[in-house]
Amino acid sequence: MLIYGLGLLAFSYIAGQLFGDFLGELIGVQANVGGVGFAMLLLVLLHNYFQKKQWVKANFDEGIGFWSNMYVPVIVAMSASQNALLAFNKGVLPIVAGTLIVIIGFLLVPIISKIKTTP
């Protein structure tokens, strides 16, 4: 059943985000700490467990797959609701700082990528 897959995804999302909010509260910041990351881990682990128990039947995965295919369209909607005007009307400082850090980041990626944990 498709709705069971969707239900598992929703459960992982809610549990992960709740834990992220809780962790933020615990260390005293007004933000969610790693909620999406915890949700992803939970989904991977639970899905593995469900497969072992042979609960993943028929179109179970389509309930999850639909949303990962909706990813780009949702990102398009997100870009369209950014405060793009503020970004370019606040003078030169944001443009200099925002561009400079991305250039430095692009330079760092290949250097740090060389670090590998030996299995």
């Binding site: 995804l9 999302y13 992220g20 933020g24 005293g28 910041v29 007004q30 933000a31 969610n32 790693g34 909620g35 999406v36 990351g37 949700a39 992803m40 989904l43 991977v44 995965d61 797959g65 639909f66 949303w67 990962s68 909706m70 990813y71 780009v72 369209p73 949702v74 990102i75 398009v76 909607a77 997100m78 870009s79 369209a80 609701s81 950014q82 405060n83 793009a84 503020l86 970004a87 370019f88 030169v92 400082l93 944001p94 200099v96 700082a97 925002g98 561009t99 850090i101 991305v102 430095i104 980041g105 692009f106 330079l107 760092l108 990626v109 290949p110 740090i112 590998k116 944990t117 299995p119």
Partner: protein, 251 residues
């Protein structure tokens, strides 16, 4: 019958239709005009940003095109709930061993990304004539993401124009990452889960990383998002505390 309020009432469905049209136009531009040199999803995201700029010009609001009643569904579909839900769903294709292998590099990139962004922001702030630790820390925090900036600024009591500046810096960062990631991905070998995790940790801005990777290769999104998702939270923890105190001690 008021036609605008009809579309507003059915906002979410209306935005599905408009996004489908945007994707269609972007796909056509990509295949017919650019011979697939730039992926259709990158063009679609760019069109989204142009719409956001236009919406800001028309309404003066903060939510881009979503401030127009006809496009109000974009607030929901493009909001953090749907974005995070979709990111979580991509985890189904994640390989656990690969993730563990990239763990060390991921953590190093996360720490380095936080420190380097903060320092770069402070240097630019100094160059533009800011000298008090509160303003500099706020601008430095804005260079992390557009959420860390205002959180730090209000915690330290920075002035509202400095806070607005820090938000703008974070938004510029997200936009620059979005536009340039697919163009530069091959040059910086951003084509595997390992480097995607490093990329997420260094850039940190979830919206920029997610959009940039989606336009590059959708398979990389979960890996980049995994590290980026810790960035904002850690930034909110470190900027108004450790980073601010270190800056104050140096001045």
């Amino acid at each position: 019958m008021n036609i605008i309020s009809f579309f507003e009432k059915n906002g979410m469905i209306t935005s599905f239709l408009i996004i489908a049209l945007i994707m269609l136009v972007a796909e056509q531009i990509s295949t017919r005009l650019l011979r697939k040199k730039i992926p259709g999803s990158a063009i679609a995201i760019l069109l989204g940003l142009i719409l956001a700029y236009y919406g800001g010009l028309l309404t003066g609001g903060e939510k881009g095109i979503a401030d127009l009643a006809f496009f109000s569904g974009f607030k929901l579909v493009g909001g953090s709930m749907f974005r995070d839900f979709c990111i979580v769903s991509t985890a189904l294709g994640v390989s656990f061993p690969v993730m563990l292998q990239a763990g060390k590099a991921g953590i190093i990139s996360l720490v380095l990304g936080l420190v380097v962004s903060f320092v770069v922001g402070i240097c630019v702030g100094l160059a533009f004539g800011y000298h008090d630790a509160e303003s500099l820390a706020t601008i430095g925090a804005g260079t992390l993401t557009f959420i860390v900036g205002p959180v730090t600024g209000s915690a330290l009591g920075a002035s509202s124009d400095v806070i607005a500046l820090s938000v703008a810096t974070g938004v510029v960062k997200a936009i620059v990452v979005t536009i340039f990631t697919p163009l530069i991905a091959a040059k910086i070998k951003l084509d595997n889960p390992h480097s995607a995790m490093v990329f997420g940790g260094i850039m940190g801005t979830t919206s920029g990383v997610a959009a940039g990777l989606a336009a590059t290769d959708q398979k990389l999104v979960p890996y980049g998002a995994l590290t980026a998702t810790f960035y904002t939270g850690l930034g909110c923890l470190l900027c108004p505390s450790v980073f601010y105190l270190a800056l104050k001690a140096l001045m």
